[in-house]
Subunit: 154 residues, 4 copies
């Protein structure tokens, strides 16, 4: 690994830098880029339901089958990051091809997560909203500010 970028990033493994030239501020800005307004979760759920039914795949989409499929996709996602060493926010230096692949694997995880919630009868948008509120109670800003401690240790 004689690549100088790799060497540089290795010496500052937690640098919040989007690229060798980007300032931390611009990478933070990039990382804050908004998602598109649509499709929403309920719209994605509808498309996934339609996709599944059109192929007569409901018979295969049992909860534990989907749980294992999700595990498989998370594994594929992990493989994208596996030999890269630390990756700064914004993924400076990644090719468009690699970014596209990453978007595909993140999407596969989301699709199976939506399918799993669906067959389990869980209203995922509502549950996620409630969980963020609950997390807020478990991690009060004053006690958890700048800390990675688990809530049980705060």
């Amino acid at each position: 690994m004689s690549d100088s970028t790799a060497q540089a990033s290795q010496s500052q493994p937690q640098a919040n830098v989007a690229s060798a030239s980007d300032s931390p501020a611009s990478s933070a800005a990039a990382a804050k880029a908004d998602f598109s307004d649509s499709p929403s979760l309920v719209e994605l759920q509808r498309r996934c339901n339609e996709f599944t039914t059109a192929r007569d795949w409901d018979q295969f989409h049992q909860p534990r089958n989907l749980m294992l499929a999700l595990t498989g996709e998370v594994g594929e996602l992990a493989e994208i990051f596996m030999w890269r060493g630390e990756c700064p926010v914004g993924l400076p230096g990644w090719s468009e091809k690699d970014r596209h692949h990453l978007g595909q694997e993140l999407s596969d995880c989301l699709i199976y997560l939506i399918r799993l919630a669906t067959v389990c009868g869980i209203d995922l948008p509502a549950a996620a909203a409630a969980k963020i509120v609950e997390n807020g109670r478990k991690y009060p800003t004053d006690k958890s500010f700048g800390s990675t401690k688990k809530y049980t240790d705060l």
Copy 2:
């Protein structure tokens, strides 16, 4: 986070859940129950960004840290299903407590998936929409109908 939708959903997070006494037919129906219209992915992203910044946690939310955190949450989700043997669609017989716990773990996975996409600069709703279209091309309905074969074997 005083959002009234979140508060309301929190008090009834399993409104769409099939009850243990439902017949398989109605469980299947329940499993098709729509997600709530809100919050959308972009709204959840906004709440997650706000949550993270309020605690000064952006410094910890590097891509690989979040990848590992997601792996951790998927592990917790898997543990919910681990000693149960096969679980039919709609999860008949599951207690409200278990369903609530399931909703929490699905939500944690979604939250870290959103955060990971965010710090990687991936527009998750757009990527997921594109992936469903791509999957449709890889799995034409006529060739994949009722089959679990991988597209490379169709």
Copy 3:
């Protein structure tokens, strides 16, 4: 890696496998079939070290890289089980090809687990022996007999 034990084992990798025609009773018996006496964990560690060094891969085998690689392999393992519904002990009805593939993915998980322990300086055989003893204390036979309760609930 021309080690004769490895070569020999390669020609009969499924010596202990239950055949598809086995009765449940003999499948259970097969499932109790002993592992081969060799290679031991320390011998596998030695072969993995040698393999890695011969390819100049030590530079890539950082702890978190290996953690992500392990996650990837566990995902591939999960995919073997994902569309099958429940699978009885001994895997009756599985083809030799599927069993061979399963053995390969289980092996990849073991190989990365060994590598991860190695670069972290953990003596895995000793740690595993100690953990089994510890588990025995957490799950006394009288309290945990026939129960899947977590030790904190016993």
Copy 4:
């Protein structure tokens, strides 16, 4: 499980661990430290079988249940590494408590991997030996030297 080797190893489970004050060079050396000669995989399998049977847990140890349990343990392992940023070989700076916890989670992964192989009728030591040989063919030293390319791209 009153096995004296296990008891002995339990009292010194981190005998091979690099200390926080080690130089990078000695950490690398420590990371090459051999595993203990015993217990071997077949001996660990025997202890796991005994442990399971003594608690009447064979009824729960179906292949997919164990696959999900393994996923859960890999998640717990990932959580150890999640907020740390990059971790050099030998884990310099890690406390004895953290190293001990790491050894426990690596062990839990190994234990479920052994159990899963066992109930699937896979001879894990033989399969792993064969896989290392196969990997050697897929990654010839001359083509894969110093490269992270997948064998399909070599």
